[in-house]
């Protein structure tokens, strides 16, 4: 399978590794969170059947993190985009 790195172009999937759900932002002020809210930030992730925005890292080449929208049913990568950008598809 080929994955399109936003910096390097299409590359074999063996050059990449997976980094979990994308767009999980760090809490503005972690000190005001309850233990439950903190645990929810640390450990709770979506697990959809279908399109899912994920972080990937091109570890064997440019070593940059980027985002990908992947369909968890087909493993098809629908789009890839740079960190800081919002998902081009949902």
């Amino acid at each position: 399978m080929l994955i399109e790195c936003p910096w390097c172009g299409p590359r074999d999937e063996t050059e990449f590794h997976y980094g979990g759900q994308a767009h999980v932002s760090y809490p503005d002020d972690p000190s005001v969170l309850t233990d439950e809210q903190w645990a929810r930030y640390l450990f709770y992730r979506d697990n959809p059947q279908g399109r899912f925005a994920e972080r990937w890292c091109h570890g064997s080449a440019c070593r940059r993190w980027f985002n990908a929208v992947r369909d968890t049913r087909t493993h098809q990568i629908v789009a890839t985009y740079r960190t800081g950008e919002s998902a081009p598809v949902t």
Partner: protein, 202 residues
Amino acid sequence: MTAEAASTPVRRRPADRTGSPLEGYVDRFAALAAATRGAVGVTELPAFAHLALRADPQADVGDILGGPLPPPGHVIGESPLTLGLGPDEWLVLAPDGTQTPLTRALHRVIGANGAVVDVSGQRTVVELSGPWCRTVLAKGCAIDLHPRSFTTDQCAQTLIARAQVILLARSGDPSALWLLPRASFARYVADWLLDAALEYQT
């Protein structure tokens, strides 16, 4: 450490490759070129200065590097030769011995907004030549190496037989490539190349 010892220059690899990662492969590379009648040539080049550069892509390095910093996957210059490795990362290859003046010159331009690090011992440069060299490399490389796709002044970081390398297509010989394995992986990559080229021996 005494002041005298501190000022002793670092011993550098001489131009004859003595002490280089592939110094023990000179005869095997020569035998391969003879057995394939030049269809596959593998040569370790004498040492270069390697500098890792992190900077703003707009940094005004034209006077030093011969042009603006190239985007990822592209190469500018001859000597120094600058490879775009990432959006804010480059590798500069220059004649061995120019590390210090080149580092100083780059530091002056990029100021505090970046870094220049001498990484000359990190990788060695292997030149692949001959009409079948890309076919041999393709056995262990997932990127499209056809000269139509991977052409002059392009570079890529990728895996060859699972070892991380930088690949570089040079101007001049359209089929020739430079392969930059890490020093500690160089013998593994050389063994793999010699094995992959077996079928082209006559």
